[in-house]
């Protein structure tokens, strides 16, 4: 075996043709010749497909027979094949970090027009990699123990699904929900499209399965306040808000809610269409079926004075006005975020009259009105109690609109169709107008559902509604009606539709506190506030923070099947981690020499992954290896260049720049 005798590095450079992807533009033989002339390069070769098995074998053979101890592959993007070549190098007995990839495809042949320039550019890119690889050092992956418990944040259908999957797999799942009951938006829906299943009928069995599951620890009326740690070892603080009811004693008999003297509290579950009491259970199928006392409305809690009829009514003596918020500390190995969405604030589009005209209602309000357990007992009626003889459904309210949200909310076309069907089912004589921009019926069975609705007598008008006004009292035939002005773009006429009810198909938006939540857990938000996945195609439920997954509408608007599928994927992702005893961490991370650190704390607060702690004994910042992602923030922030990012040292980067400019 030929070995380097003088301690000088022996670099092998392998230039890939990538079929014609690279060789079609770059003069590969000339590049290989150039690479062979660079300092420390012992061998430079060309091959048609370096990533193929024979291609990899060339490298492995050279490592073994020629004593090559540094490898540069000039081919595609490292995102594509860095793992391939790292493995090949490692299995030939060379540390995988003594390998460097030079991207001469995406950075060069694909984007450079002139072949001469492309060839020159390839030389510079390879020169940079060769300069750099000289300074690369062997690194070893770091292994840390894994906590097998998981945390799910958000108890809508996504959180419920993910929690059940993981609990069934034998893991302890902590499910944290902000509201007094799990269920989320799906619990409010009447039917689901396009199968018209009763939403509650398919959801509530899952909800009660969560409530009864021995592996699920349910934390309702609770919020995560602090997240620390890293994959395999997260430490999470959860604030359990005082519900002023001992949930171990409460039986859910609802006697307290019947006796409560504060009767006029808007009922959130019914979109404030009716009232609840200050002592309440949000809905009959709530899980847990336990009462909560609204601290903002309860007379005892706000004024310190009440007859306390609830206390009298409560057999088991569950009501406790002295209850305080409680901080619970959890330790988990992985986290799934399923915090859902909010609907668009319709009042922002004043010309639609929401909030001004009583019979202009939101989509969620309609869900409750048409629901048999809703405020009208499932009767579709206007505010005056009469059945509407005509209804207009306005699509894209707050969606596909540069003034509000540029994106499509993906579900509004379909739920609008569902509304049309429900109206036609309840009130066959009622006219239903759909004012749409485009019908987007892309899911399984969706187009068929659309076809079905076209045969049910629904009138489809292609055009975004301009405004909704109250019809003039002077015109007898439209008196008391709402007038929807819409340009029918297919007919080329402006129409004024006199209707009794207008339903606004409100956009799905990120939760108002999405940004804070993202920051808390250490990943990013799009400008619209939806959580950013690690890769839009290949890692749609992972985040940039290892061990933290996202699913459902917090990642972007989606329907129930997609939400459930994502929840399953996130559960699988989390299980794939927590089923291991240990977790391996990329070693290209930061290191702080305590002898050099001055303890100024600048880096401590900056680390987006909470990976830097101040060690008072050493009077120095220290990197928690398992939490560091190697982002380099501390490296650039430190006033004395103490943090060193392994694999990206100043020496390596300056050498790379030197090579690129050579």
């Amino acid at each position: 075996m030929a070995e380097s005798t003088n301690g000088e590095p022996r670099i092998g450079v392998y230039v890939c043709d990538c079929g014609t992807n690279i060789a079609g533009k770059v003069d590969v033989p000339a590049v290989v010749e150039f690479a062979g002339s660079l300092p420390h390069v012992a061998v430079a070769r060309e091959y048609k497909y370096m990533c193929s098995d024979p291609g990899q074998e060339i490298i492995q053979k050279d490592i073994k027979e020629m004593g090559i101890d540094r490898v540069v592959v000039a081919a595609c993007s490292p995102t594509m094949h860095e793992p391939t070549f790292r493995k090949a190098v490692q299995s030939a007995g060379l540390n995988q970090f003594l390998f460097q990839m030079a991207n001469i495809r995406e950075h060069d042949s694909w984007v450079t027009e002139d072949p001469v320039e492309a060839t020159e550019k390839a030389k510079h890119i390879i020169d940079a990699a060769v300069h750099r690889v000289v300074f690369q050092e062997p690194l070893e992956a770091i292994e840390v123990p894994m906590n097998s418990d998981v945390l799910v944040v958000g108890g809508g259908i996504a959180g419920i699904e993910a929690a059940l999957k993981m609990a069934d797999a034998g893991h302890t799942v902590h499910l944290v929900e902000r509201d007094p009951s799990i269920g989320g938006h799906m619990a409010q829906f009447d039917k689901t499209f396009p199968t018209l299943d009763c939403s509650a009928c398919i959801l509530t069995p899952k909800m009660s399965a969560v409530g009864k599951h021995p592996n699920i620890k349910l934390h309702t009326y609770s919020e995560v306040t602090e997240v620390d740690g890293y994959v395999g070892n997260f430490k999470v603080k959860v604030n359990k808000k005082a519900r002023y009811v001992d949930i171990d004693k409460c039986t859910g008999c609802m006697l307290c809610t019947e006796q409560c003297v504060v009767a006029k509290v808007p009922n959130e579950f019914n979109e404030s269409l009716d009232n609840r009491r200050a002592a309440y259970i949000p809905f009959p199928q709530a899980v847990p079926l336990r009462a909560t006392i609204d601290p903002e409305r309860c007379l005892q809690l706000t004024r310190g004075k009440c007859k306390q009829t609830c206390v009298e009514a409560c057999g088991p003596g569950a009501i406790d006005f002295e209850q305080k918020d409680e901080l619970v500390e959890l330790e988990v190995g992985a986290i799934i975020i399923t915090t859902g969405y909010q609907t668009f604030d319709n009042e922002r589009i004043a010309r639609y009259g929401y909030g001004q005209l009583p019979d202009v209602i939101s989509s969620l309000e309609f869900e409750r009105i048409s629901n048999a357990s809703g405020p009208t007992g499932g009767e579709i009626v206007c505010k005056n109690g009469e059945k509407p003889r005509s209804v207009a459904i306005l699509h894209c309210v707050g969606s596909r609109d540069e003034n509000y949200n540029e994106y499509c909310s993906r579900v509004c076309c379909m739920y609008s169709l569902k509304f049309s069907h429900l109206i036609k089912e309840h009130l066959p004589e009622t006219e239903v107008y759909q004012c749409y921009i485009d019908m987007r019926c892309f899911g399984k069975g969706y187009e068929e559902f659309y076809k079905r609705l076209m045969n049910e007598g629904v009138v489809f008008i292609r055009g975004r509604a301009a405004e909704v006004t109250a019809a003039s009292k002077r015109q007898a035939e439209t008196e008391g009606k709402l007038l929807v002005t819409v340009e029918d773009t297919l007919l080329g006429v402006v129409r004024h539709l006199p209707v009794d009810m207008v339903i606004l198909s409100s956009a799905l938006q990120a939760q108002p506190d999405a940004k804070e939540v993202a920051q808390l857990f250490g990943f990013g938000c799009s400008s619209a506030g939806f959580y950013i996945e690690r890769h839009p195609k290949l890692e749609p439920v992972s985040t940039v923070t290892d061990g933290i997954f996202i699913a459902g509408c917090c990642q972007g608007p989606k329907d129930i099947p997609d939400t459930v599928a994502q929840a399953g994927a996130a559960a699988a992702g989390a299980l794939a981690l927590v089923d291991n005893r240990t977790v391996k961490i990329e070693p290209t991370i930061s290191y702080i020499d305590p002898e050099k650190c001055s303890g100024c704390h600048i880096c401590v607060g900056l680390c987006p992954h909470n990976a830097i702690v101040y060690d008072a004994e050493l009077d120095a910042a220290q990197v928690i290896e398992a939490a560091c992602k190697g982002c380099g923030v501390c490296v650039s922030a430190c006033g004395s260049n103490v943090p060193v990012q392994r694999g990206f040292t100043d020496e390596q980067i300056f050498a790379e720049i030197e090579g690129a400019l050579a």
Partner: protein, 323 residues
């Protein structure tokens, strides 16, 4: 046996370094005891010609303070290098270019224009400028030529050691002199060439007594704009303190009395450009949501060049494109 020879010279500087040497107090007698002081214009009456007459390397130790900004400074830098075994860049100006280095944002002509014409207290309708040569009956008088660019000593001559500070702290000066005297008496090796003497290897924060926590800056303030708080890190109070990018060794004197570090000890080991490093550090801890807010906060930095490069402009990576 004659004593080793000692020299000290004052180039483009304020004179503070000369005074600072006297901060070693009675120890100056020990210097005189161990060294033969052969050249020290501010304290002794030796002339340039006395130095010129010396053999090369005759002086053991020369402390050179001040930057090089004119032909006389440069001549003396070359001369003292030639005559000295150990040449020390003494003080911030010699080591980093110091405050005179800030002149590098102007040309010599612009500076003369400001001083002799645009100065509000000057009346000079005939535009009379000093001339470098002037004939008088007794002969020719000359003034040194003022350069456009101010340089640190090591940008002009080979330097053995650096003693930073504006001025260097007395105890640190004595520590260096004591070490050298010790080596002279008892033998031993001098530190490797290029070593920064009389200073630490960390940053000013290490010596500063204030309590440091995580830093989030929402606006920059001047020291008199914040309530007196002897406990909290000045940077956390929004006062631009160069402590995090400045070599320790001074004992944290400024911050202990509520004044921010100005950066006179130069960058810590591993940092080349003190000002650029401070920008990088500050940019990391500005707490703002939007680019507009960042710009708004950044606009509150008083005199950015003079703050970040107060002592280091001459040696920074920022070089003038042309003169």
């Amino acid at each position: 046996m004659s004593k080793p020879k000692f020299a000290m010279y004052w180039a483009a500087a304020c004179g503070g370094c000369e005074i600072a040497v006297l901060q070693i107090k009675e120890k100056i007698l020990e210097v005189a005891e161990n060294f033969d002081i052969v050249f020290w214009p501010v304290a002794t009456d030796f002339k340039y010609k006395d130095v010129e007459a010396m053999a090369d390397g005759e002086i053991l130790l020369t402390l050179f303070n001040g930057a090089v900004r004119n032909s006389e400074n440069e001549y003396m830098a070359h001369l003292l290098r030639q005559k000295s075994q150990v040449l020390v860049a003494f003080g911030a100006c010699a080591a980093q270019g110091g405050i005179p280095g800030l002149a590098n944002v102007s040309t010599a002509a612009e500076i003369k224009e400001l001083v002799y014409i645009d100065n509000p207290s000057v009346q000079n309708p005939d535009r009379v400028f000093p001339v470098e040569r002037f004939e008088v009956p007794e002969g020719e008088l000359d003034l040194p030529h003022l350069y456009d660019t101010v340089r640190a000593l090591d940008q002009v001559e080979d330097v053995d050691y650096y003693i930073p500070g504006c001025p260097p702290e007395g105890p640190q000066i004595w520590a260096v002199l004591e070490t050298i005297i010790g080596i002279l008496k008892n033998g031993g090796d001098l530190p490797p060439k290029g070593t920064v003497l009389g200073a630490g290897t960390k940053t000013c924060c290490d010596e500063c007594s204030r309590v440091k926590k995580e830093k989030k800056i929402t606006g920059f303030k001047k020291p008199w704009e914040v309530p007196w708080d002897p406990e909290t890190c000045l940077l956390e109070q929004g006062i631009i303190c160069m402590g995090p990018v400045t070599r320790d060794g001074c004992g944290g004197r400024c911050t202990s009395v509520g004044m921010p570090c100005r950066g006179c000890y130069g960058p810590p080991p591993g940092v080349t450009d003190q000002g650029a490093k401070m920008l990088s550090t500050l940019a990391s801890i500005i707490d703002a949501e939007s680019p507009e807010k960042i710009a708004e906060i950044a606009a509150t930095v008083p005199d950015p060049l003079g703050t970040f490069y107060r002592f280091g402009l001459a040696k920074s990576m920022l070089r003038r494109a042309k003169v």
